[in-house]
């Protein structure tokens, strides 16, 4: 049986005036190697738990990196003082909410258009090669 189809979308807080990002840029953002947007404001990175199906899909299909590789990068930052890891939220609804209220935030959800909530306003950005 095939997995139900997922369409992972990268979302940002509406203060971000960026309509597209290259895969390599997104990868830099998620490996915490790029911490600022072009206007010099801080990027606040949100993630779902490593075991979450949507996180796995995002990691492998969008970032082209295995979830355990991200865990290793984040663990090294967190437990050596070198930096900080992304902020972890438990569910997609929490993630959507967090990105919508946090200036500079970035995250990802599955089929954003399918679960439109009028209260939540975020920008979907295009990911290009």
């Amino acid at each position: 049986m095939a997995f139900p189809s997922h369409s992972i979308q990268v979302i940002v807080n509406k203060t971000i005036e960026v309509s597209s990002l290259k895969t390599v840029q997104l990868r830099r953002i998620y490996s915490m190697r790029q911490l600022r947007w072009a206007d010099n404001s801080a990027i606040v990175v949100y993630v779902l738990p490593s075991q979450h199906l949507i996180h796995k899909k995002f990691s492998k299909d969008v970032l082209h990196i295995f979830p355990y590789q991200l865990d290793r990068i984040w663990n090294k930052l967190t437990f050596s003082g070198l930096g900080v890891a992304p902020l972890l939220v438990k569910t997609q609804a929490d993630l959507l909410h967090a990105v919508s209220i946090t200036p500079g935030a970035i995250g990802y959800v599955d089929n954003y258009t399918d679960n439109i909530d009028k209260e939540i306003d975020v920008h979907v950005i295009q990911i290009t090669k």
Partner: protein, 420 residues
């Protein structure tokens, strides 16, 4: 200048036994209450105020060593395998962050037991563009240069409970783990080259009395001081490549001041280490190799005009295989000899009239292990080591063939770890 950043290394010495116990209990309490209050959803605290992040870990294991004093002298099953830590990171302004971690460690003979400040630093983002990121770290910092050096005490970040002793020698842990000083970390990216990291640091570490005796020998009563240290490393990951390559070097000087009725004289020790490593991360397989060459120059100590210049070489090859979503297997082989001109220790035995057997000249280790993910943040790890030789046992300067009388010895260990 680094005196400015000096922090008490061994809090238990400063606080006395009672103070140290209170501190230990307090840190345990903080870890446990965070766990109970927040469960797995520690991020609740983080989202409320994303400037502050709090994380930690707690691990307890059982270790059994047959045939050496690696963990204890009596060879009994030991619970001296405890690692607890709690850390906080606070973003003070857009360019300045403060981060600190306190740990409690107990590894038996491997290093001194107690609570310590693992790091306490100011992270200043000095330069950042889309391609460049440069950070200056000031305070008590970690060794950010080798594959596992910055998190060697953090159980869930290690490939094995006992790291390969050729590179991660527990006998010199205090001076390789980090220290008080300054580090510059630069990260560069471009589409053609990929990711390039360059790190340079200079630190001084305090060497505990126990670690001094581990290095010198039990009859040493003096003190070993870390005078200067320069470390640098460069890492390169080609764009989209599963491989990463690294080179590192360490140049450190130590001086020894003899104590009362000490069998050693004043002297100095210069240690230069060169490293090369490669790391492959595939979907089910990982492959790592880290090679070391170390030059140790000893002056004085054993006689007024004594000096010894030896170059040791070693390293390991390691592979991890993800068998199921929960179960990961580990296989590793490591090889080390203390003197590249005396790989089998024959000269060592001859020079000491047989007092020090030849097997103190080398140490090889074949390791097999597994880790099992019980849940998101809970894991059990176990491993067995088959070891030939005793070159990476303590004491280092004058080995102890009475306790370490076996060329072949083994080690088995299991550790349960939780982190948040």
């Amino acid at each position: 200048m680094f005196m400015l950043f000096k922090l008490p290394n061994n809090l238990n010495r400063k606080l006395g036994r009672a103070g140290y116990n209170t501190l230990l209990i307090r840190s345990l309490f903080v870890v446990m209450s965070s766990f109970l209050l927040m469960g797995n959803n520690v991020s609740a605290a983080e989202s409320a105020n994303n400037k502050l992040q709090v994380h930690g870990f707690i691990a307890q294991g059982i270790i059994d060593v047959n045939g050496s004093n690696f963990v204890n002298d009596d060879g009994d099953l030991s619970f001296e395998l405890t690692e607890i830590g709690i850390n906080a990171s606070y973003q003070i302004s857009s360019d300045i962050r403060f981060a600190t971690q306190a740990v409690y460690l107990n590894g038996g003979n491997r290093y001194s037991e107690g609570v310590r400040i693992d790091y306490a630093l100011i992270d200043w983002s000095v330069y950042h563009t889309e391609n460049w990121q440069a950070n200056l770290y000031i305070g008590r910092i970690k060794n950010y240069h080798w594959l596992y050096s910055s998190t060697r005490d953090v159980p869930h970040t290690r490939p094995s409970i006992i790291l390969p002793q050729s590179v991660y020698f527990d006998g010199t842990r205090d001076m390789s783990v980090g220290g008080d000083g300054i580090a510059l970390a630069t990260r560069y990216y471009d589409d053609g080259i990929g990711e390039l990291d360059f790190n340079i640091s200079s630190t001084e570490s305090s060497i505990s009395d126990e670690q001094t005796r581990n290095i010198m020998g039990q009859s040493s009563t003096g003190s070993l001081t870390h005078d200067s240290d320069l470390q640098a490393s460069i890492y390169w990951r080609p764009n989209y490549s599963p491989w990463r390559f690294g080179l590192a070097l360490t140049d450190a000087d130590f001086s020894y001041r003899k104590g009362q009725s000490d069998m050693f004289l004043d002297g100095g020790l210069a240690l230069k280490r060169f490293y090369a490593n490669a790391d492959y991360q595939g979907e089910s397989w990982t492959f790592s190799i880290e090679l070391l060459q170390e030059n140790m120059f000893i002056e004085g100590l054993l006689g007024p005009s004594f000096n010894r210049d030896a170059t040791g070489q070693g390293g390991f090859v390691q592979s991890q295989y993800q068998l199921t979503a929960e179960l990961q297997l580990l296989a590793r082989y490591e090889h080390y000899y203390a003197n590249k001109d005396d790989k089998h220790g024959a000269d060592l035995e001859k020079m000491t009239n047989g007092m020090i057997p030849k097997y103190f000249g080398y140490q090889n280790d074949a390791t097999f292990g597994l880790s099992y993910h019980l849940s998101n943040n809970l894991q059990v790890q176990m491993e067995h080591h088959w070891i030939k030789g005793t070159a990476r046992l303590t004491p280092v300067v004058i080995p102890d063939p009475v306790v370490n009388k076996n060329e072949y010895w083994q080690l088995s260990t299991v550790q349960l770890m939780y982190w948040f």
